[in-house]
């Protein structure tokens, strides 16, 4: 009985400290064990990626120091690949590639999705809305891999054609969600009040409406991040992905030859690292969703 009382008072105190949606969400998120594990794993990967970015480790990813298919040793932690390259170094370097792809695609596609979604929601049932909806419908009906291949060719030689293609297709989901939320928001009193005071439309959208869609953008950008990392692997395998550097997708593509010869270390290294990151990100994203959206059905 006393324990029950204790927890309830503890919750009351928490409620008093922070009453905004964000502090409540942060409180809820901190109590979500899976979400916290996910977040720490993602943070660790990010640290590794940053280290590669500033040149602390992973610098020898393209050197052919060893022999072909050396086993696991203190020098080569995961062995070497068909060219005698250190698989551990390559796997570490790929972390940076994955974060680069994920961040670029997630940030830009979320920005585009937020902007166009807010526009079409705010001006719903006008020609602006019609055009944006049409554009989303069109982009959604082009098969993804073919679209990427086409963009890769249209921008031939451009190292970021994969990023462009992913951004072009991934923003539509975000945009649809934002549009729905904005249609709901624009009838609220605070928007009406702003309009009554004579605030110009673009300032209403940027100041009053977009900040209120931020929770959607946050969750959606984590989902896009995961989607981008997973697509990168498949695109790199098809030869449409990363052009300079190495990625888990390229490592898996290499490993398809090695696997036939019974050498699995390249395959294991890339796929296990990829799996852990995506899994952690999914857990993080789920917990974020639970914390930010009280209506969402879960557990």
């Amino acid at each position: 009985m006393s324990t029950v009382l204790d927890t309830s008072t503890a919750e009351v105190v928490e409620d008093k400290i922070g009453e905004s949606m964000w502090s409540k969400a942060a409180y809820k998120f901190r109590r979500d064990r899976a979400g916290m594990i996910g977040l720490s794993v993602v943070a660790f990967y990010m640290l590794v990626a940053l280290g590669v970015g500033v040149g602390l480790w992973g610098t020898e990813w393209s050197d052919n120091n060893g022999q072909k298919w050396e086993g696991v040793s203190s020098q080569y932690w995961f062995g070497t690949n068909i060219l005698g390259q250190d698989i551990f170094e390559r796997a570490i370097f790929s972390t940076k590639t994955a974060f680069e792809v994920g961040l670029v695609v997630a940030v830009i596609s979320t920005l585009i999705g937020a902007f166009l979604g807010a526009l079409s929601g705010f001006f719903s049932n006008t020609w602006i809305d019609e055009i944006i909806l049409w554009l989303m419908g069109v982009l959604d009906s082009i098969p993804f891999y073919l679209f990427v291949a086409a963009i890769a060719f249209a921008l031939s030689g451009f190292a970021y054609s994969m990023h462009v293609a992913m951004i072009a297709t991934f923003w539509t989901t975000t945009s649809r969600l934002v549009r729905g939320e904005v249609i709901k928001l624009k009838n609220f009193e605070f928007v009406e009040a702003a309009r009554a005071v004579g605030v110009p439309q673009h300032i209403i959208i940027v100041r009053h409406i977009l900040p209120n869609t931020f929770h959607i953008l946050l969750v959606q950008s984590t989902i896009v991040f995961v989607g981008a990392i997973k697509s990168e692997v498949i695109l790199s395998f098809l030869g449409l992905g990363v052009k300079n550097g190495v990625s888990w997708g390229l490592m898996i593509a290499e490993s398809t030859l090695e696997v036939q010869a019974g050498e699995f270390s390249n395959f294991y290294a890339a796929s296990v690292l990829l799996f852990i990151l995506v899994m952690a990100f999914n857990m993080f994203s789920d917990a974020l969703q639970d914390a930010l959206d009280p209506k969402k059905v879960s557990t």
């Binding site: 049409w134 073919l146 291949a149 060719f153 249209a154 692997v233 990829l274 999914n282 789920d286």
Partner: protein, 310 residues
Amino acid sequence: MRKILTGIPLILGVTLISFVLMVHFGPDKTYDLLGKNPTQEQITEVRHQLGYDQSFVVRYTKYLKELATMDFGYSDSSGEKVSSILVRTIPVSLALILPGFVLGNLLGVILALIAAYHRGHWIDKIIMGVSVMGMSVSFLIVIIAFQIIFSSSKGLDLFPVRGWDVYSFTDYIRYVTVPTLASIFVSLGYNTRFYRAVIVEEMGRDHVRTAKAFGAHPIELLFKSVLKNSMIPIITRIMFSIPLVVISGSLLLESYFGIPGVGKVTYDAIISGDQPILKAVIGLTAIMFVFTLIINDILYKVVDPRISLK
């Protein structure tokens, strides 16, 4: 009928964007078709044959005309008629994808029902946990792993590694099993999670509670009160994945298992710039999408008579 009209801007948009990307900026085939040291006349002649010398608008309207008559001419690469290529490859893709698609969705619904019924219980937690794990594995990794496990001499060695020599039903089973297992494995996590969210929402409704209070049998409750009422999001999800599945097939499965389906053909066409094939596939995808939208609305009406088609 009105739906078909509203579908026209969509078809125009898809064809226009893909046309600009794949045909206008696509690879130039002129020199592939010429011999060594071509003369200027030969070059202009080939360019004329391929239609490169016409303006963008002319080429695009010509394409729309081809789309309307469904006559796309002959492939630039093999000289085979485009329609016969499609007739040969689409059934292969369908046969490859369909079992995995159907089973993946069916199992997804069943698992979702079980999970939703035991919501919060350990059964639910296990199903959802495994779903998240399934979602986190890359399709590519699943394909490679399954191929090692089922088809290689290091694993069970039960099925052929790659290829598609299908002449009888047993051949079909032999070649389709591993790709099917891989695609079920990959789609199951997503499907289960999606369907569970839909079903859980439906289970919280008043009529379900009433039925429960009246002591309805769990199976009857799930199928009659819950599943029937959550059909609309389920149908939407299934229908909208159909056009992509049918036309682009599974490029990854086809290229990894060396299966001559339409996804592989299209991919090769993009790489080599085989425009007639590209035009046909893009156009058909767009048309399929519009038809899906229409059938989707009709199905809504069938499932829920309150929805009017207008």
